[in-house]
Each structure stands twice: as C-alpha cells, then as structure tokens.
Amino acid sequence: MSPRRKFDIGLIFPVIMILSLGLVSLSSALSSNQGRFNVQIIWVALCIVVFLFTSYSDLRTWERFSIPIFTANIILLVLVLIIGKKIGGAQRWLDLGFMNFQISELTKVSIILFMSYRLNMKPTLEDGYNLFDLVPEVLALLIPVILIYFEPDLGTAILISLIALIMIISTKINRRWLAGLIIFLIVTSPLLWNFVMKDYQKKRIVAIATMMVSDTSEFMLTSQYHTHQSIIAVGSGKFYGKGYKKGTQNMLNFIPEHHTDFIFSVYAEEFGFAGVSILILLYLYLLAKIISMIGRVQDKFSALMLVGTASLIWLQVLINIGMVIGMLPVVGIPLPFFSYGGSSLLSNSFLLGIVHNISVNRRY
C-alpha cells in the first residue's frame, strides 16, 4: 500500500519530453507557417486541461459512460460519411467551425473504453473466454471498423482492430480458440487482398515490399515518392543530424505532410540517429511505465484501460515510424504526442489522463 500521490512524475516526464521534442520539430517544419505552430501550442494547452480533467475525475464515471460514448462515436462516424469534410481524397473530418475534428481519433479512445468496460462486465471461466462469448463485442467492434474503412482510412481501421484484439488476448482466452483464430486470419488474408483492399493500397504494399528487397531509387508513384523522400530525409540525418532548421528535406519541402504524419522524418533529419534513439527510448520508457502499472491495479477495467492505452501508443509509434522509414505502407497514423493535429493530441491526452488517474487514485 503506497500512499496516494497527487502526481506521477515518472509517467509525465517522458510525455513532456516527447511533446517538447515534437514541438521543436514542428517549429522547424512550420518555420514558414508560424500561425499553424501557434495553433498547435493552443492545442497543447488545451490538452493539458483535458489531461488534468481526466486525471482527477472519477474513473467510475468514464466506465459508466463508455457505452454512450461508443454509441455517440458511431453516430459521429456515420455523420462523417455523410457531411464530413474531404481532405486529400478521404472523408475523415467533421468541421466543428473552430477545428476539423478527426472522428476516428475519438474512436481510438471509445474502443478502448468500450472493450475495457465489456470485458470487465463479462465473467471469465477458468479456461478462458470461449470465442462465442465475445461475439457481441466483436460485432459491435465491426461497426466503427467498417465505417472507418469506408472513409477510407484502412490504417486506423486496422489499428483499432489490433488494439481490440490485443485487449482480448490480454484476458484469458481458450487456447484452442486462439489457435483457431490465428489459422482463420492466415486463411482469410488472401481474400482480404483480393476483395477488400483497394488498388492504391495494394500498390503501396507492393511498393514497400519491393523497396525492402531492392534499393531501387526510381519512384514514379506518388506513394513511393513520399516514402522515398522521407527515407532520404531520415538517412541524410546521419548520426548527429543536420541541426535544427537545417534539414534540407524539411526546409525545402521535399518531405510530404512533413508536419503531420511525416514529422518523424523531420526530427530524424535534423537530430540524427542520436535524437531518434532518445525519442524511441522515451516511448519505450513510457510504455514500460504504463505496463508496469498493470501488476499493481486491482480491477480488470483499469488493467484493460492500461493495456489498451499502451497498445495504442505502441502501435501508433510502430506504424508511423515504420511507414516513415519504409518498413510499412503509408497510412494516416500520427505519431502520438509528436505529430501536428488536435484530434490525435486530444485523444492521446485523454487516455494518458486515465492512466494518470489510475496511477494516482487506484489503491495498490
């Protein structure tokens, strides 16, 4: 029994560091667009408020509200498909007047809440969940996944499916069913390739695949061009980086989306392998910190919230950096606490607030 703390500095420190590095990179990427950078500062301020609010609110309330939030989120996702704002070919944003809110960011939160709530409510037998036990959850889950898929935003659709999957696996599951599921996934993936995936998505995957095995530098397809340029940016940073605001790929706009999904390449170009290692270690430290908390909580809801949040942060980092350095296809997944954008920052801060809430309020 440790005494109740007001503040878990060990949890907050890596996030503040990541946020600061993110702001430094953004100020470089947005050096010709000071206005946008200022907007991001406002977002950071707002997120601190959100973080503090969730940190010191009653966790039970959120637990109780998880179904309404999930339902509201689905309604919003439908709305997005109808009246959403189209940016770059995808309809992912709701125009709220003062900002364009990306509803799928909210979904990341609501799915973690929903899954934690449902799995907490559902008693587990000694040999674990039978998959039939989870049919309602999986069906409910499919609604936002499919809606997001049609935006189209395959990346986020896969991301939230994976998070839900990890959360399910982190509970006790019948071994035979698990093995069956894995076999099922292996069998269905060719069907996914042939009937579900769009041409441009396949193209990206092929592009990445070919790049992994050959070092060809002829990139005519747009997706390849983006990846190509961002790999050049990352690689050209060498060990110590080119220095703040001296990244030519960044400053001369060779990196596409360089303040949003590709911000990591700006950072990597200007701060090199040294900076990159520090950032990745910070993320790892944060993740280790969150996961280490799981052993000390007493309720399943909190444990699952922690697992969900950790896997969300982990997968976003993995997918984002992976795509920037050409290991994964280009999808619209931001780097948590680092990329430009209010929606992502809000959802991540909310979840971090929950984690912090658990850290300071739950009795160990």
Partner: protein, 626 residues
C-alpha cells in the same frame, strides 16, 4: 467450471502484458536497427541524395570571344538570349510533363517535331538524368523573354537561364571570313571533348579554325531549389557544403588581319557576280581582305536549327554561296601561270630575257593545232612581250624546251598543288599535274606535247585557288619568299593579354633576283604600257602596280561549239573565268591582290577593275598613314 476472481483476471492480464512489453521492445529494436542502417550505415549515401534533391547544378555557357578586324571593327560578337529547360524529376507522370511543355508552347512557339523529340528524350531518361534540365527552347530573344518572364517563372519544374546568340554585324560582307556557328554535331562532340551537347561550334571559317580560342570555359551554377523545382533564396546557410558557383569565362577574342574598308570594297566590287577576291600583305602573309561572291548571311545560319528553306536556297544554288571560293575553289590559273613557266625558262637557262620565239597565230604539230589567243600572231616575241601581250605560242615553244619536270618543279616551289597552310578550314590544294600525277590519273599514257603546252599557259590540268595565286605572285614581288597566309593577327584574352600570331615563311627560294626583276618588269608593262593586256583597265591615278591577266577556259573550244545556241544559261556557265593578279606598289611591293570572276570573260576587262578598286582603296587609306 468456476468463474475467475478479479484479482486472478488482473494477474492473468499482468502476465500477458509482460509478454506484450517484450514484443514492444523487440519491435522498437527492429525500428532502431533499420534507423541505424539508414542513418549510420547508409547515412553518407542518403546525405548525398538529399543534396541532389535541392542543389541544381547548371552548366553556364560562356560567351564566345569576338572576332575583330585589324582596324577594330567587330565582325562577330554575342548577344544575350534566354533558354528554358524542364527538370523531369519534379513531375510524377509523363502527362504532366507533356502538359507543362504544351503550356509553355502557347507563348513560345515550339514546333510539333521539336516537342515530340523532347518528349521522347525525357521518356528515355532514367536515374540520375531525371535531375538534370532538358532544354525546351533556346534562343529566346531578350524582348520576347521579358514580355513573358513573369508568366514563365510561375511554372514549377521549369528553369530559365540566359545564353548567348552569335551575331555578325557585317553579315554577308564578312560571312566567308567568320564562317558561322551552329549546334555541335556527334563528330565534334567526340573529338572536341568536354563540350556540352547543346553547345554551338564554329562550322566554317575562322569560327571553326579558332574554335578552341573563341569558345571560352563553362561555368557552373548551383541553385538551391525546393520540391517544385523553383529556385529559391537560401534560408540562412542551410547547407555550408553547397559549392560556390563559378562564372563562365568568355572566350578569347581574335583580331584578324582583315582591314574593314578593304573588305567592304571587295564585297561591293562584286555585287551579285560570282567570284572571289583576296588581298594579302606580301611580306607577312596577312590577308587584308577576302571575299567570295555570292556570300551568305551568317546570321541566318547561326542557329540551332537552320530553317530548311534557307539551307536549301544556299546549298542548292549553282553559284554556291556557301563555298569560300578564295580557299576552297580551284580555277585554271590560265595566263597568270605563265610567270612560272617564264621563271623556269630563265632559271634553267633555256631562255634569256632577249630570247625570242616566233608567233604566227597557230602552231601545227602532227595532227594537232594549237593557237594563240591572237589568231593574227604576235610575230617575234621576247620575254617581256610574252607576258605583256600574253602570247601563248611563246610558252608552247618554251614548254618544249623545258619539258614537264622543270615546269612542275618550279610550280611546286611556289606552292602549286599544295595547301598554303592558312589558318582557315577546308582549304583546297589544287592540282599540279606533275609526272606522278599523270601516272596516277592517266596510267600508261605518254605526256604528249599538247598537255605540256596546256600546262605552260595554265590550262589543261593545273588548278589553283585564288589564295595560292596570291602567294605565288607575292613570292615574285619579294623575289622568292613564300609566305604562309594568315587571317589571325592576335589573340586577346579576357584579362587583356595579347598574344601575337607570328608570321610564317614557308620557304625562301634560291633563285637569282635578276630573273624576278625581269619578269616583274614585264608584269609592270602589262598594266602600264600601251599594248599590255590590262593597260586600259588599269587605274593610273595611283602608283604603278604590276599584274597579269588570265582568261581561263572552263571547257575546251571544241566542247563549247557543241552547246546549242538555245542553252543560254549553260553557255553562260561555260564562259571563260576572268582572272587578274597584281602586286602593289610596283616600286616597293606591299600587297598582292587577286580577283577571279567566274564566267566573266576577259581577265583584263572584268577582273582587273576589281583588283584596281582594291589597290586604290588600300592606297588611299594606307599610304597617308605610312
């Protein structure tokens, strides 16, 4: 089966999440490995690639050196023009490139073929070459460029740079001296080395022979460009390793030996008449004027693509305006060759100045008849009269005494049949029909009298360029010094250093001065004594000149008779070529002038007035100075 307690569930999740953390660590290690590979192992390579992205290296073409006359007039210089290029790497599809080029072609007329050639070139380009500019259009005149510059600079992936256009202020007057420049061809690209495939090279004339001096050195510019290929100002030392630009260095200028007024006199004296004239300084070999008529407009030809119409007009004309008739066209020297035969006679002691031959108008030998131009006959003719009145029989008889070798040997000493070595491209050597030549061209045939007689009067097979004739008469005037003619006087480098191009002497003949004096006196009488073939055509208001007429048959008399009366044009083309050579002033010879009027008829009446115009022009401008 019992239901798990909360604490058991949490414990279970804790255990699972431990494994999850290991997966996370492993996945981040994978990222770090890849990052290490990109940034540390391959870092230098990618660094260079990132530089390729934003540093646009552009070759700056140098301005070509000027060509000047000896008296400081500009024969060739350069004018600013602009060129526009496209960089393929900034376009993701061929369609975009095509669209861009079409957009540009709305303001700058780009031909359909030109466009397609460009597009196929871009299509073929892969790898590094996509980062390099492709020329869309050059020679955009300054005026036109400024009219559209604001529109053109708005295009992404487009780069505009300045270039030069060659201009010849005197156009046709000096075209045969300067020649012209045009786009480099494959051959030159291989031999000249280090030339840009879009560059121009001298194709004829001094532009060609002094190419290396006039060309200049390329410069290099390093532009910083953004992702759209637009040149931008460098944001505060973004990369200290960007190389410094190096300006192009203008080529050295060439001062020629040409005197502008003399050159103008030469070209105006000819007008549309086909022919050639050359004035040379006797002691230095400096060419003071050189004109070939009709001429061409070098400004029209100095383009990347010469319009077909102009090219056809020039290249198909029977008057051959593109041929420099001074150095590239050979003529029968006709009677002007007689001095060589005469000198051989004196030198080999076959005759003395007082020896005479009897001219009865015609000479009968065997079944053949050879006549003098004067069918009435000259009677007894000595050396002086043989030249003054240009008696043919005298030389027929002399040739019999001399035989082939002595005449051809003497002629070869004066450079007949070999190039003069002038600093000018495409020179013809002419023909000296010596024993070797006959053996090669008429194997097994005996060189009979008739051929020998023809040679002695400059007919038959001997052919010379007007320039060779000038060198020959120059050598008579200075008693046997064969000079190497030259057009380059000095090279003026851009820093002002002047390098003289030295005069050269090919050889000095070991021939008695007396013989030259005797012949030169006879040449004086041609123009200054009543009865001389050029007496009535000479200008007696200037100091005396000594000269020789030549009226050379283009085809033999028997052939001439076969041409139908109706074929007027053909008849015109087969008229005799008129020649006149003179050195001046007789007392202290300074220059030698040659004029050839193609199909002009009698040398004295047609060619001599041209030569006298040149002598007069030279006299009035020069003599007062000296």
């Amino acid at each position: 089966m019992r239901i798990l307690k909360q604490s058991e569930e949490v414990k279970n999740t804790t255990k699972k999440s431990k494994s999850l953390l290991y997966v996370m660590i492993v996945s981040f290690l994978l990222l770090l490995f890849r990052l290490f590979y990109l940034q540390v192992v391959k870092g230098d390579e990618y660094f260079l690639k990132s530089r390729d992205n934003f540093i646009l290296q552009e070759k700056i073409f140098p301005a070509r050196g000027d060509i000047l006359t000896s008296d400081g007039k500009v024969l060739a210089s350069t004018d600013a023009s602009f060129k526009i290029s496209i960089i393929p790497v900034f376009f993701s599809t061929m369609d975009q490139i095509e669209e861009q080029i079409d957009r540009i072609s709305t303001v700058l007329d780009i031909g359909h073929d030109e466009r397609n050639i460009l597009l196929s070139k871009v299509k073929d380009c892969v790898g590094r070459c996509r980062y390099l500019p492709f020329l869309i259009k050059d020679e955009i005149p300054r005026k036109k460029f400024f009219k559209f510059s604001s529109y053109l600079t708005n295009f992404p992936g487009i780069i505009i740079s300045s270039s030069y256009k060659r201009v010849y202020p005197y156009g046709e007057n000096s075209a045969h001296i300067t020649g012209y420049v045009s786009k480099i061809n494959q051959n030159e690209l291989a031999t000249l080395g280090n030339y840009d495939p879009e560059d121009f090279t001298g194709k004829t004339g001094l532009e060609k022979s002094y190419e290396q001096i006039l060309h200049g050195t390329y410069g290099e510019a390093f532009h910083i460009i953004d992702h759209m290929g637009r040149k931008i100002e460098v944001p505060e030392n973004i990369d200290e390793t960007v190389p410094k630009s190096k300006p192009a260095q203008k080529g050295d200028s060439l001062r020629t030996t040409i005197l502008s007024y003399l050159q103008e006199t030469a070209s105006s004296a000819f007008g549309e008449t086909s022919g050639a004239a050359v004035v040379m300084e006797i002691n230095t070999g400096s060419i003071l004027a050189m004109h070939s008529s009709p001429s061409f407009n070098s400004n029209l030809l100095s383009r990347k693509r010469i319009p077909d119409k102009i090219w056809r007009e020039y290249s198909q004309s029977v008057l051959r305006p593109l041929v420099n008739k001074v150095t590239m066209q050979t003529y029968y020297p006709g009677s002007t060759f007689k001095v060589v035969s005469a000198l051989a006679g004196l030198h080999y002691h076959e005759i003395t100045p007082m020896s005479t031959f009897l001219c009865q108008g015609c000479l009968w030998f065997g079944s053949d008849t050879k006549c003098c131009w004067n069918k009435w006959g000259h009677g007894y003719v000595n050396l002086k009269r043989s030249l003054k009145e240009s008696c043919d029989i005298y030389y027929y008889d002399l040739s019999e005494k001399l035989g082939l070798e002595k005449i051809t040997h003497m002629a070869s000493l004066f450079g007949v049949g070999s190039k003069t070595g002038i600093d000018f491209p495409g020179e013809e050597a002419g023909i000296l029909p010596d024993r070797e030549w006959f053996n090669m061209n008429y194997p097994g045939m005996k060189v009979h009298k008739g051929l020998l007689m023809n040679l002695a009067i400059g007919q038959g097979d001997v052919r010379m360029t007007p320039l060779q004739l000038a060198v020959l008469y120059g050598a008579f005037a200075n008693h046997g010094v064969i000079v190497k003619p030259k057009l380059g006087e000095e090279v003026i480098s851009q820093d002002g250093t002047i390098t003289k191009i030295p005069d050269e002497i090919v050889r000095v003949l070991d021939i008695n001065d007396k013989h030259f004096e005797n012949i030169n006196k006879a040449l004086w009488s041609v123009t200054n004594e009543l009865g001389g073939t050029a007496f009535f055509h000479a200008d007696h208001t200037i100091p005396d000149a000594a000269g020789k007429t030549g009226t050379s048959q283009v085809i033999s008399n028997s052939e001439k008779k076969m041409i139908d009366d109706s074929e007027d044009e053909k008849r015109l083309m087969t008229e005799d070529d008129a020649l006149f050579v003179a050195f001046f002033p007789f007392k202290n010879p300074q220059i030698v002038a040659v004029a050839v009027v193609e199909n002009g008829g009698h040398g004295g009446s047609v060619a001599a007035p041209i030569v006298y115009k040149l002598l007069k022009s030279y006299y009035y401008k020069r003599s007062f100075k000296e």
